[in-house]
Amino acid sequence: MNRKGIFPLALLTGIVACYIAQVYLPWWIFSVLCFAIAILWKLPSPKQRFRAGFIITFVTWLLLFLRRKMETQSHLDDEIAHLFHLPSGIVLYLVVSAIMGIAGGLASLGAGILMK
């Protein structure tokens, strides 16, 4: 397979796997999956690995939040955001997803330890 096509595929499979796993498994499962995805797809460069882990986690957490938000039409996220001095639930989850994204990116980056 063309090595250039690997990165989007890694993202896609990562996001799908992570989206499903987050529903059934504990919150930290994304870091395990980011680690595994980097190994499975043999992502070559550290930059690519970090980027993949970050994007997979960021997108998954944001999507799961948006799904719940749309399902419930609730304003609870906005209220919680105000508790943390943020203007809205969306901003809160952009921040949260980015922080978790860094953790996911680091896990993915760490997969390099098992690569030749």
């Binding site: 919150w27 550290p46 719940r68 938000k69 609730s74 609870l76 996220d77 760490g110 390099g112």
Partner: protein, 820 residues
Amino acid sequence: MENADRHRGTRRRLTSGAALLVSLALMLLFNHKLGQVPPPGKFFDPVHGFMANAESSRDLASYACALPGPVQGNIYMDDRLVPHIYAKDAYSLFYLQGYVTAKYRLWQMETETRAAAGRLSEVLGPSLLSYDRLQRRLGMDSAAENALSALEKDSLMFAFVSAYTSGVNAYIQSLSYEAYPLEYKLLDYRPEPWSPLKCMYLLKYMARDLAGFDDDVPYTHVLAMIGRRDFDLLFPDRPEGIDPIIPTGTSWNFSPIQVDTASDCFPAVPMRPDSSMASQQHNEKGSNNWAVAPSRTADGYAILCNDPHLQLNLPSIWYEVQLDAPGIHVYGASLPGAPAVVVGFNDSIAWGETNAGRDVQDWFQMTFEDASRQTYRYGDSVLHVVKKPECFHVRGAKEFWDTVYYTLHGPMVYRDFASAMQDRADMSMQWQALYPSDEFRAIYMLNVAKNYDDYRQAITYFECPGQNFVFASHCGDIAITQQGKFPVEWKEQGKFVLNGNDPLCNWQAFIPFAENPTIKDPERGFVSSANQYPADSTYPYYYYGFDFEFFRNHRINAVLSQENNITIQDMENLQQDNFNSLASDILPLMMQAVAADPRIHGDPAVTAILDTLHAWNYFDDPDITAPTYFQIWWDTLYTTLWDEFRKPGVSLIRPDFYNTMRAMHDLPQDFAYYDILATPGKETLNDVIDTAFSCMMRIVETIRSHDPGRITWYAFKDTRIMHLLQIPVFSVSEVHNGGYRNIINASSQTHGPSWRMVVEMSSPVKAYGIYPGGQSGNPGSRYYADFIPDWAAGKYYALHFFATEAAAKDASQFVIQVNE
């Protein structure tokens, strides 16, 4: 070349290893609370974290479920999320009540019982330690344990409380983190198992709220400061013009129990620093209830009304419920954490409560044998102080040990308690709530009562907090009884600090329940109470209350006396009545005083405010400004008038509003205490009124310049319904409503009608009610605060008291089934 590759490989592994370690560290870190921030990983998890508490506003049917359990029954949830519980027997019924109440109110139940038990610091940390210590020092844990021992002797009630407990625990056991109430996630702890003892704590929580006050120490200080003559003038035991619960002139057909009077009974109490300052007016709390006889109503059925005024919180203190099983068919407001209905009705009777406000908490100054304060003389005996160690498992801090000392009267609440009330360091407290009693039996028996005799029998089990139980029946009887276990006291016993070493200062006997003030089917065709004096001075027992109210009862009785052909709508209107009796009585005098002051004439701002006050009809309606002007003026006047009764660091009390009003009418203009201490001159009453008026003008000007909208009554008053954790985003403020304390619609900033109920004892019963909250305790639910706009607007909901299970099923949004 090979070396360079190896070097690159090692560097990559090192970088990767470091990244992996940091990632693992972050996972660990995000799994724990970070200061005030809940564990970020768990809490913000969009699936299992707080977003799991965001409830859908559609598709209620998806909440339907069938559960296995040791009991059998169905819970039909109606359109307001009120459960209508149908069970095969009473045990199953209370199990299901426990289950469904926990489902919607678990965190509130646990928090209130933790508060009563002095265990908040276990979950909220060191800032709550002082609060917790005070609860233990008041003996709340002993009180709950005593109540539990009384309950265990009552096998039927114990079975019901145990069933309720099992229901709560069944719900708790079903919970995963995802389903925890939001506050557990926010504060990062897990629900603990429920127990019958927790139900007792809830009872004591109410006792503390309603009968856990007194003014013994401030009264003692004030008496020492101003002398007997002025004390009796400003703090009379029985002021003129009171309108007691039992109408004046009612005769008493019993001979009272006599007790020996103590001599040298009021010891001197040193005025030591008291961080609490004056314990002023507790009258934010209160309640109204009344019942009208069929002869006075349009439909010819008795009508009963009740609106308990308590602190307004979210989740609400009440939880509406219908309970149905063989032998019990009842609807009303329950207390989350306690089985059965507390204020409600069945097919035969309706009942409601207001607080009696009788003083059942007395303070005894102890003189010890020596400086070690271990032994004291009591009559001819020498007794030892009993020590009770108390342990506090404070979250995020070391375990803390405290010692509570007990004399035979009760706990020495403030001994070696540096934080407050140093003048009480040698005092012990006797408090009715600390003795065993079986209030749940009273509540249960009211739930199943059929007639007046059942009602009278039921309430004999209710000992503390003393309540005015109003009653109406389908047969047309109406009645009211001030019920509680009250000591027989000699004149002024318990009003001041007592000599703890003299047995004659102790409680010697109790008023037999049959001799508590009560009346049935009075000639005037109604009974009522609003926390006022229970009876006139002919009542054969001395009694004293820390906070009798004077204004609401006058208005209620005046309206009920005038009206005939009374309808449910009339009664709803009366519960919403905003007439300010205090203002109607005292404002003309205040206006007269200002009119005589030449200094203020010619100022257009003054003229505008005076014109507004002149035109005012004394109703504290939400969208007008006159109540704001009056209230600022009155509050300033009251504070300035009684400046002698505020000294930094000393616990004092001022004359209440009623006696202030009477003093202003009756006492001379130059009465000594009208003088303003801070000025060199000698002020008269009119001078103080003028000063207060000028002060009010300045305050109004300041408010107008900052936020003109705030001068409107509802915005100025700012009725708030705060979340129990005082979290603003989970609270509702600036509720658009009228009223105030001392007004029938007693909505102040923090307190108000916590459950309005109007019941016509027709067949079927017609009942209407509302409370300022919602059935769900979850801030993420649309049922959390959904009643508040309607409550503020004075609307009522028709209470669906279904006669049959089929009717409940037809009207239900969803069903929770429990099968054996």
